[in-house]
Amino acid sequence: MISLQGISKSFKVARRAAGLRQAAKSLIFREHTVVEALKDITFSIGEGEIVGYIGPNGAGKSTSIKVMSGILVPDRGSCTIKGYTPWKERTAYVGHIGVVFGQRSQLWWDVPVIDSFQLLKDIYRIPPDEYRRNLALLTETLDLGGLLETPVRQLSLGQRMRCEIAASLLHGPSVLFLDEPTIGLDAVSKLAVRDFIRTINREKGVTVILTTHDMSDIEALADRILLIGKGTLLYDGTLQQLRGRFGTERTVTVDYRGGSGQGPLVVEGAESVSWSPERAVFRVDTGKTRIADVLSRLSEQAELLDVAIEAKPVEELIVELYREHRI
């Protein structure tokens, strides 16, 4: 449904060194460097997928989103989404997509939220029935009751972001681009937004492309990850595959009573990371030793009060990926 073929985009960036002399020099002779924001990006996304689009700052995530939403014209390559080329048939195309830019606002600052919504209703020519239905659904799932009559400037960031997301979905788009939708949100709002994304994906089959720096967003939502760095696509696969690739290693933390009392607990196949008379932490390679074996050996030695088994956090996996690709 979404397919990108060899998309490239470069920007010309003016630069000069600091200082008065350099500034004067740049009046006459301006140096430009060409920054290749996207280099030959190719991927395709099927209907109803939730795809996490990740990468360090400046990797080209937002640029890709802008190309896919028809705002930027790439230098080379082709892109087809729902049968449209975004930048060529922009006005016909954008009725099918919703876009949320986490760092920007589409609501009118000085008027109540509902006024902006009414305007969007007319802009997208949403039939009154559909508008009422969508608004009711969004109000309920994003918990907007009471916010709609408030001027935007008086909303908190979390409240505003929920309204922004609602604004992007009023016209019932079948593709949703989210560019850092959870930036700056507190835990409650974040969970509400995630829940909502999952709901519309499941119930309405909306395809979601999500960029974020918050790996817990990815973990909670994305079936598939696209990793981009320095403008190139570096990884395309599921989170599970990524996990498998970078580690079968688990951290096992046990709280216990008893034991030999003196030295650390020693378990075959588990490497001791830290130890105290109440708590011990082990590293286990599940490719070689089964967790169950480790636990049964531990319980032979001491009375286990609490056990926690953790996979390597996604953050660390991503950092390893970055390191692997030297970005």
Binding site: L72, V94, V99, F101, R104, L119, D122, I123
Partner: protein
Amino acid sequence: MRPYLSVWKLRFILGMQYRSAAIAGIATQLFFGMIFLMIFQAFYSGSAAEPPMPLDRLVSYVWLQQIFLSLIMLWFRDNEIFQLITSGNVAYELCRPCGLYSFWYAKLLGQRLSSATLRCFPILLIVFFLPKPFRLSPPASPEAFVLFLAALALGLLVVVGVSMFIYISVFWTLSPVGSTLMISVAGEFFAGMIIPVPLMPHWLQTVAGFLPFRWTADFPFRVYSGDIPAGEALWGIAAQLVWIAALTAAGAWTLRRALRRIVVQGG
């Protein structure tokens, strides 16, 4: 049409919120109107030659300028659009199934009309009751009044057409200061906002005739006072229509060019 009407309406509602700005504006405009009139009156009484425009017509000219200031002034601008461009929020405007040119055009019309609605009636009321030489006279004739309304409305479309270029230029310059200053200084001069066009030397009047600016203010105000007779006014309205067509076509084309090379600023 619906989206454009809707954005016009919202901008109008928004503009109607700014009451204190309107009150301050009314005071300023009355003050400037009086100052201009006193200067011109002094010139007129000190001059032996036959003035190119009688004083009572000049009085209407100056008061109408002040009353409809927000419809004709080029410096009257929507900072929000500048911010949209320089901050990159224009990204959202580009995700809408509308032509950006018409969308902004409607927005600007709404802003100017709301401001004019708030300001024009109180000033109108006051200047009709001022003591004699400063009083605003009624329109020359009913036909003149109807033609004046048409000319003023079309003049507004010309102003917005010109001001669109200021907004579009920001895609290149990233700062509205230069283009606003240049276009508004030249524009206001040739619209007769500083010296009424009939009082200019002939060669300058010819220059003004070739530019769009005098069709925004000078022309409708002289139709009001009968300085331009009805027959000539119809030709003027035709000229306004030509200018509107030319300005919007050129503006839309330039905006399309700007969007092709757009760099959405920031993250």
